[in-house]
Assembly symmetry: C2
Homo-oligomer: 626 residues x 2
């Protein structure tokens, strides 16, 4: 069980060469219980399992818990967690004396409670009370008296400026009051959200003595121009998921000499609803990435994928899948030595069709992706160090040792090396496949252009951070796409040369079953020919409405007959500053459909502007004849 520290014990002071020393600093990680969903017990369990060192206990979580403070103390200790902070005390300072007497009485109760909990630091937020006056000397005096009381209990007080505090709303103002109070049991608490949301310059943090920064709360947030209180209470997110420079912020705090825990305090409407376990893992991953960015930790370096080796479909009903692949010009090239898995290929696009037991669960779905990796083992070590679940492989003794992890949406990601042109490579995965005779067909698909994967509603932010940090991909901006039944969002993650592109999507609500679609986009340099061949081979293209083509003709000038061809085949068109994009869609099998895409002249998007039309078409009952 953790013991309360002496409140005014001096913390290590930083030397001049802070950056070089950082690696050797033993940084503790912590999370506020308010960041997680569920009962206090669920929150603590999730934090412990995710590997946090400590927690902040949010008062309302304690009040609502049937556990006594002693039981909470024992539970956290069992989980390997310390209680780093009790929070918050509100509306304490700069109030009339009679009110302050009531506040001290309340504080005494809370210090007694904290003693039972085994924690020694309390957060005091700058007052929002209408009783508070704008008088720094009074605030300092009352905080000093609060600190006196704290000291009697072996406790310390961390005073924080709320961004919407009535009279104190900036960190330097809070610090100046703490400095004036000059009490060993009184320090300040810094919160990245409160400081960065106001657009304040965090550089001044370096002027605060590190030992007087009693606590550090970290939260990111998407950059939004909105009321700061609403922004804070509903939209905070974990570092790296929003728009603030949290690494830069943390650098200032470390240079000031702060050596306490890095603690996440995130109020977020979605996390409140999400399962606590995955959220806690997401949270700790965000801290690991932040520690890496600030030189506090050095996990194995990212190994960026260099291409898509394969996409794996699992299906309980193989006929519609193979019919679709056949019409798309894929041929069955090989079968797995020991599993019910076939390799279908067209150009460099490879699709595995797995009819094993996993297929029973969900119907036809895209269950796994093979990522071409220059060093699969290193990629796997990176993933594991960032808390990606490493998947056990049931394999025959002679199979290649494939490294695989699970993405937040459950997709299995394999790090692998593709043997090309019959020269098996040491780590090659294709060696596990036995070639089968196959027809030589005209090749009009070059490779997999991108994969589109719908994410669980509660894990959209997590998914982007996962793909960036674990897989070394870059995330593009999130875009809204209007489906007839609600707004979808989509965010692409890619590698530098665009040979790996994954579009992460999310539907409008947790309930939306229609938003579970996944698709595989195949690159071609002539989508018209590709579409015609597909149709001639018996494939069914998704028909697009005539009104779309009338609009296209209004917006762009095409060569004679071009729009008519697009209309006939259901080809959509987009253009950006760099180039053009032509694309069309197959029918859907289970959760999965295919797209044929032709990129010309450096077009970098995904045809998002056409997505509402495509989504509407996918809702229509299938029409005969196409």
């Amino acid at each position: 069980m953790s013991q309360p520290r002496a409140p005014y014990e001096a913390r290590a002071s930083p030397g001049p060469c802070v950056e070089r020393q950082l690696r050797s600093i033993d940084v503790r990680t912590s999370i506020a219980t308010v960041s997680l969903s569920g009962s206090l017990t669920e929150k603590l369990t999730a934090a412990g399992r995710a590997g946090f060192d400590g927690v902040e206990i949010f008062e309302n979580d304690l009040l609502a818990s049937p556990l006594t403070p002693e039981e909470i103390r024992a539970r956290t200790a069992d989980l390997g967690l310390s209680i780093d902070l009790y929070q918050p005390m509100r509306d304490i300072e700069a109030v009339p004396e009679a009110e302050f007497a009531r506040n001290l009485r309340r504080a005494r109760h809370k210090f007694e409670l904290m003693r039972r909990l085994g924690t020694d630091t309390v957060l005091v937020c700058s007052s929002v009370s209408p009783l508070a006056v704008d008088d720094d000397a009074l605030a300092a005096d009352q905080l000093r008296r609060l600190a006196d009381l704290a000291q009697d209990f072996g406790m310390r007080v961390a005073y924080e400026a709320l961004a919407w505090g009535r009279h104190v709303s900036t960190y330097d103002h809070a610090w100046s009051i703490v400095e004036a109070a000059d009490h060993p049991a009184l320090g300040t608490c810094l919160d990245s959200f409160h400081i960065l949301a106001r657009g304040g310059d965090p550089k001044g943090i370096e002027d605060i003595p590190g030992e007087k920064i009693f606590f550090l709360q970290l939260a990111d947030a998407p950059l939004m121009a909105m009321d700061v209180l609403q922004w804070s209470r509903h939209y905070r997110c974990f570092p790296g998921q929003g728009g603030f420079d949290i690494a830069g912020f943390l650098g200032h705090v470390l240079r000031a000499g702060y050596r306490g825990p890095l603690s996440l305090e995130v109020f977020n409407d979605v996390f409140r609803q999400a399962e606590a376990g995955p959220t806690a893992v997401d949270a700790r991953r965000s801290l690991l990435v932040l520690q890496e960015a600030t030189g506090l930790a050095a996990p194995p370096a990212p190994v960026a994928a260099t291409g898509v080796a394969f996409a794996e479909l699992v299906t309980p009903d193989v006929e519609p899948v193979t019919a679709l692949l056949g019409a798309l010009g894929f041929t069955r090239r090989a079968r797995h030595r020991s599993k019910p898995v076939d390799l279908w290929q067209h150009g460099e696009a490879r699709v595995l069709v797995n009819t094993g037991p996993a297929a029973r669960r969900d119907g036809t779905s895209l269950a796994a992706v093979g990522l071409e990796s220059p060093d699969p083992a290193a990629a796997s070590r990176r993933a594991e160090s960032l808390l990606a679940p490493v998947l056990p492989r049931r394999r025959a003794p002679e199979d290649a040792p494939l490294d695989a992890v699970a993405a937040p949406d459950g997709t299995e990601l394999f790090f692998c090396v593709t043997d090309r042109s019959g020269h098996p490579e040491p780590d090659g995965w294709t060696g596990d496949f036995v070639p089968v005779p196959h027809e030589r067909l005209p090749q009009y698909v070059a490779r997999i252009d991108h994969l589109a994967l719908t994410q669980p509603w509660h894990q959209f932010d997590e998914a982007a951070l996962f793909h960036r940090s674990v897989l070394g991909l870059s995330a593009q901006d999130s875009v809204d796409v209007a489906d007839p039944y609600g707004l979808h969002r989509s965010r692409a993650v890619t590698n530098a040369d665009g040979s790996v592109r994954i579009a992460l999507g999310v539907g409008p609500a947790p309930t939306d079953e229609g938003a579970r679609a996944q698709h595989i986009a195949l690159a071609t340099d002539d989508v018209v020919t590709a579409a015609r061949r597909f149709r001639e081979a018996g494939g069914r293209l998704l028909a697009m409405p005539a009104n779309y083509y009338d609009d296209l003709a209004a917006r762009y000038e095409f060569a004679d007959g071009e729009p008519e061809t697009y209309r006939e085949l259901g080809i959509l068109y987009d253009r950006d500053a760099e180039g053009e994009f032509r694309h069309c869609y197959t029918e859907t099998v289970g959760r999965v459909f295919f797209e044929l895409v032709q990129r010309d002249g450096g077009y970098r998007g995904y045809g998002a502007q056409n997505a509402p039309v495509r989504l509407a078409a996918q809702h229509l009952p299938r029409r005969p004849g196409r």
Copy 2:
């Protein structure tokens, strides 16, 4: 089928006594298809069924529709709808000549399309294009040339300032350009959101000649300090559901002499997901209320309820319900003459227990509320005029004719008169009940204090508007309440003396089954005695955590023993500027539980600050012994 009007046909000009004339103005109502969910067909059907006169066709809805323009025209005509506007054309004006030539080409296509649709007015939004220059003369010149083209097609152009337009973002700026262009086929379009969101003074609208206001779009929005584009695209709502003074705004527009349609254009993430039918009804109700507020219509006056006559529980399993009522001191006083319905009563609190076939559907739930009405027939006429579904009554010939409507959540609302002290009143509902012998028990419940009804996730805004407009209640502010598994919201609607109080709640997500709870709060002047009697009679009170009481003792000074009593009984405590509130909860049967509440000294709330603790306790497994 509607015929295009001549574009520059003069509209009736307003005389000096506009207000007195308004009642006689035949105002048409319209709705933009973007305000509703689904395919274009679904949207049109919903608008037609809700009784709108016309629609604005949002371009993307047309593009995504498989219907041809002629089919859309025929469909709208069948539904009794005209197409009042085609929208939007973007980025037309103040651009280099080559770009403008392309824009005219695009416009020609659109005018041809509009001819096929049978509509004569197009919305042009002020440009957001990076190509646009800040040159009003150029803008006026190009809009004049666009209007020339429109005129050739018998069309007219309504130019609107987007709040985030690149160079034109206010209505008076847009009007000055229209005025300078001076073309009969060019007018302006006013949008309440774009004008009010920027805090502009709408009074200047009266200086625009009414016949030059070609169109009027109405949208409300909650008052939020946020980026105006995001605010507009995601959070608009129907008039009366937000914070803008839409009636005042409309007054200016009518005084200017505008006599065109009142059209709703609402971009809202929730409405996009909700069923189109109820949303369209909600939308038209909002316009009816607005028409009433501006003197354009005079529906039957509201008849405010004067009390809660009864709450009706339906149950497939009567034993747990009657056991709970019995423990709460209710006695069975009467049975319905012809239906399987019993009347239970305690003080003036009446609960009907219905074991008829309706009970099978949902388990035990609060299915109906009787509202004491000074004039049930007038209340019903008011409700019907505001599109509340009037419920058919299957009744025996001798039963009193009860007027009932359905609330958005499906709750049946009866307007009724309670016969008191054995003097049957002409409209009395109790005359249908036959008294049964019953024990005389001590009476410690005075009446029903309030009812709490969880609303369907998509209909929270609609519910508040319904209760205000149809029932003549006032809505209080919405408050957030933290459940362990997500934020709930709650908004109370009340009559003037607080004898009718309904707390409308909504869970964090459409999926949340736990958020379907309903409860009946019973007023007592001594909650401690009431709780003890309930427990002595075998009732089970919801146990509250000890930590809550420790906190209570820290926050308030109580008489000796008081917190201990509360702790023993699970009584929660709150205080506001006016008074005190003590309350406790029973166990839950089906969807329903009871609350015992004691209000002292004018406390007006519902103990929202205790709700997180209560919600957490309701998630806990039931403990023995309470």
